[in-house]
């Protein structure tokens, strides 16, 4: 104690003051109380609906033996492969199409607006009913597609949902059909935000058509395109409806993705912890995606 300086003795008081000032900022008296009152509901909602479910989920899926059981399940192994394919093809084909189509819809004219309205219909209609319709359309015996093929060309169509790769293909195509309009609109908005002076100047310099796209439009859209791709990947990783209503995870459980497998394990098998573990096993992919997304969103430079 003898060796402790006056500065050291006084430090806790200094710290307390600093902390108090840090918490209250420049607010005084009643202002501070009001600030806390406004903050409390948000914090309560955040703790209840964000923190608690995440912590509970992590706790439910925290046992090592769950993952041993999961990894030894052949259905899980094929579900991981399906998830990767679903993400790789579903996201990239969709975003690339959206990029091209957003350029198409930049054209002028009333008919283009009418066409855009029709184009966004798949996204606007409720997804469950449309996916059930697609499931029925693809039925091998009495589905619309095969009946049409038979009536028009006397061809016996394939049993689209009886084979793993065809069924997974149907799921991916349905996802692309459903969500391309949405991302097209986002990218269209991005294109429309490019200042006219830039594109006009580029045109004067000879950057028209593909050259204009490669050197002007795409570089300006690149950041938006990347953010959309990351967001779409995160959305798709948790997708349940498309697989569940188009292929049902079949045939023989061969087209499950992690989202549907989690529900199957949790409720069909009445093993909720195993279900949570299936979904949690996607975290090594989700966390880096979220980090990259956050970094991109924080980019301070003026970019679209």
């Amino acid at each position: 104690m003898d060796n402790v300086s006056v500065v050291e003795v006084g430090r806790p008081a200094v710290r307390r003051r600093t902390l108090s000032r840090y918490l209250s900022g420049h607010l005084k008296g009643g202002e501070y109380t009001w600030a806390v009152a406004f903050l409390v509901p948000y914090v309560a909602v955040f703790l209840t609906f964000v923190v608690y479910p995440i912590v509970y989920g992590v706790w439910m899926g925290s046992e090592g033996k769950l993952y041993r059981e999961l990894f030894s399940d052949p259905i899980y192994q094929s579900s991981v492969v399906n998830t990767v394919l679903y993400l790789a093809l579903g996201v990239n084909v969709k975003m690339f199409l959206a990029l091209l189509l957003s350029g198409f819809f930049m054209r002028r004219g009333w008919w283009m607006k009418a066409l855009l309205m029709i184009f966004i219909l798949p996204w606007a209609v409720p997804q469950i009913s449309t996916f059930i319709s697609i499931h029925w359309m693809l039925n091998g015996e009495w589905g619309f597609l095969n009946n049409l093929l038979f009536k028009l060309f006397r061809i016996e169509g394939a049993y689209w949902l009886n084979d793993r790769w065809m069924a997974l293909g149907a799921v991916i195509v349905s996802h692309i059909w459903k969500w391309t309009p949405f991302w097209t609109l986002i990218l269209l908005a991005g294109r429309m935000a490019i200042p006219l002076e830039i594109s006009d100047t580029a045109k004067v310099d000879g950057a028209t058509g593909v050259r204009g796209f490669v050197h002007i439009t795409f570089p300006l859209l690149a950041n938006l395109y990347l953010i959309c791709t990351l967001l779409s990947t995160i959305f798709l990783l948790g997708d349940f409806n498309t697989v569940y209503f188009i292929s049902g995870g079949g045939p023989a459980n061969s087209t499950h993705v992690l989202g549907t497998l989690g529900i199957r394990n949790a409720f069909d098998m009445a093993q909720p912890r195993l279900g949570v573990a299936a979904v949690m096993s996607a975290l090594p992919l989700v966390i880096p995606l979220v980090i990259v997304l956050m970094r991109k969103l924080r980019t301070a430079e003026v970019q679209l």
């Binding site: 039925n139 091998g140 049902g248 079949g250 023989a252 949790a266 409720f267 098998m269």
Partner: protein, 453 residues
């Protein structure tokens, strides 16, 4: 014994329902939505009547079948439970959570009507508790389901055959529908199949189908009452191989709609109603009940259950026991009002109340008391379905589904082990012996997870 219980049952049917007056209070009850609206109406009627007589309140929550299953699993996982789960959904939920010591014992409730229940129903109300290492009564049997055969009489006749022509023994019975298909194809019918076998890995239908064939081929003792598995018994193995060979072979030979490989539980009903196949082997009378009001001509004239011979005998001519799934009322541990939940169950299982509840539901579900099968409703000679259904599932030989003896079978079912064997044979041309060998190894692994004292 049966006659005695029938006499007792008749007396109980005539007596007015008895209600014990627990302290006036409230209990919450979850129940699955019926396949037809009449089921819900009959449940509400029973609840209203109980409330009037007892002064208690039952907060009834009716949820569609699949979400209710999720609701129950979520409730038992989180610990926020209702006072009464009126419909064990899935049925094996009794055994799954019984294993974990999560139910309130209800032997005292069952005791009030013990003489009325079938032996299969009483077995189906029990579960092995791995904590106390005992088999205890956790369920109150309410109704039952079996897997009957649904047949388009009109398609059989269109093929130039008669329902009376259907043979009585197992293989011949199902082979008959292959002949119907062949005859219909010769008439130019492009898309009609003889057999609606659910050679799929979705839902509960494929397991029920496989087990019906397994039992018919002599595999009844695959799991015995003591919970022991008997895969090393050559008789069981042969029965499983035969079942995989017949079911997978019928698909491979083109007698089953190709899309059956990816059907869910409702798809076979829809396909049957679309006359895609001549016959379907599917649980409960939902196939018939669903169209009774809208298409009475189908119900009364065009569709028959089992046909003239009734549920087929085995290939040696002996009756085949029907595998019965019992729906139970359950009280979870943590329920706030166990007293009222038990009182309601005691009221509900009185033969008069339970019988009326099942009959108002159009007979989709079977009663669990043999005496109730003798009612004019079930024995109506003008109804082409009910008499054969109740004979198969209540008056004839029955066994409870095997998860009652060992919970591991529920996991075998939910992991679709037998379905995969069928599909291996049907789609990939795997030999039935190889497919069953693979299935048996997996089943042994699953059973190892559930050791019973």
């Amino acid at each position: 014994m049966l006659r005695g219980s029938l006499a007792l049952g008749t007396t109980s049917l005539l007596a007015p329902p008895r209600v014990a007056r627990a302290a006036a209070t409230t209990a919450s009850m979850w129940f699955s939505q019926g396949f037809v609206q009449d089921e819900d109406v009959s449940l509400r009627k029973a609840v209203t009547e109980y409330q009037k007589q007892s002064g208690n309140t039952i907060e009834l929550s009716i949820t569609p079948f699949a979400p209710e299953r999720q609701k129950i699993v979520a409730a038992l996982t989180s610990g926020v439970v209702p006072d009464l789960i009126g419909f064990s959904n899935p049925n094996e939920i009794l055994q799954i959570y019984g294993w974990q010591d999560r139910w309130v014992e209800v032997a005292d409730v069952v005791e009030t009507q013990k003489a009325q229940f079938s032996e299969t129903a009483l077995l189906g109300s029990q579960a092995y508790n791995s904590v106390v290492k005992k088999r205890l009564t956790y369920g109150v049997p309410l109704r039952a389901a079996i897997v009957p055969c649904h047949i388009w009489k009109s398609l059989v006749e269109k093929a130039g055959m008669k329902i009376e022509d259907i043979p009585k023994t197992w293989d011949a019975y199902f082979d008959f529908f292959k002949k119907v298909q062949d005859a219909l194809r010769k008439q130019g019918e492009r898309k009609v199949y003889g057999l609606g076998f659910q050679v799929t890995a979705n839902g509960v239908d494929p397991y029920n189908l496989f087990m019906a064939f397994l039992v018919a081929y002599g595999g009844k003792d695959i799991v015995t009452k003591d919970g022991k598995l008997h895969l090393d018994d050559p008789k069981i193995k042969q029965a499983a191989i035969k079942a995989a060979a017949y079911l997978g072979g019928a698909y491979k030979d083109g007698y089953v709609p190709p899309s059956a490989i990816n059907w869910n539980d409702a798809d076979d009903n829809n396909a049957f109603h679309a006359k895609l196949m001549v016959m379907d082997v599917d649980g409960t009378l939902s196939t018939e009940v669903a169209i009774k009001e809208k298409r009475p001509e189908w119900y009364f004239n065009e569709i028959v259950t089992h046909g003239t011979p009734g549920y087929p005998n085995d290939n040696a001519g002996k009756p085949v026991p029907a595998i019965v799934n019992i729906t139970n009322g359950l009280i979870p541990k943590g329920a706030k009002n166990v007293t009222v939940a038990k009182e309601f169950l005691k009221y509900f299982i009185q033969p008069k109340v339970l019988g009326e509840f099942i009959e108002l539901g159009l007979g989709r579900w079977l009663p669990v008391m043999p005496a109730l099968a003798k009612s004019p409703f079930w024995q109506n000679p003008k109804d082409p379905h009910l008499k054969g259904y109740v004979q198969q599932g209540l008056l004839g030989p029955t066994v409870p589904d095997y998860y009652v003896f060992n919970l591991a079978i529920a996991e075998v079912r939910n992991q679709h082990i037998f379905s995969t064997a069928m599909i291996d044979v049907a789609k990939d041309g795997v030999k039935p012996e190889t497919a069953i060998e693979k299935a048996f190894k997996r089943i042994e692994d699953i059973f190892a997870k559930y050791p019973m004292a």
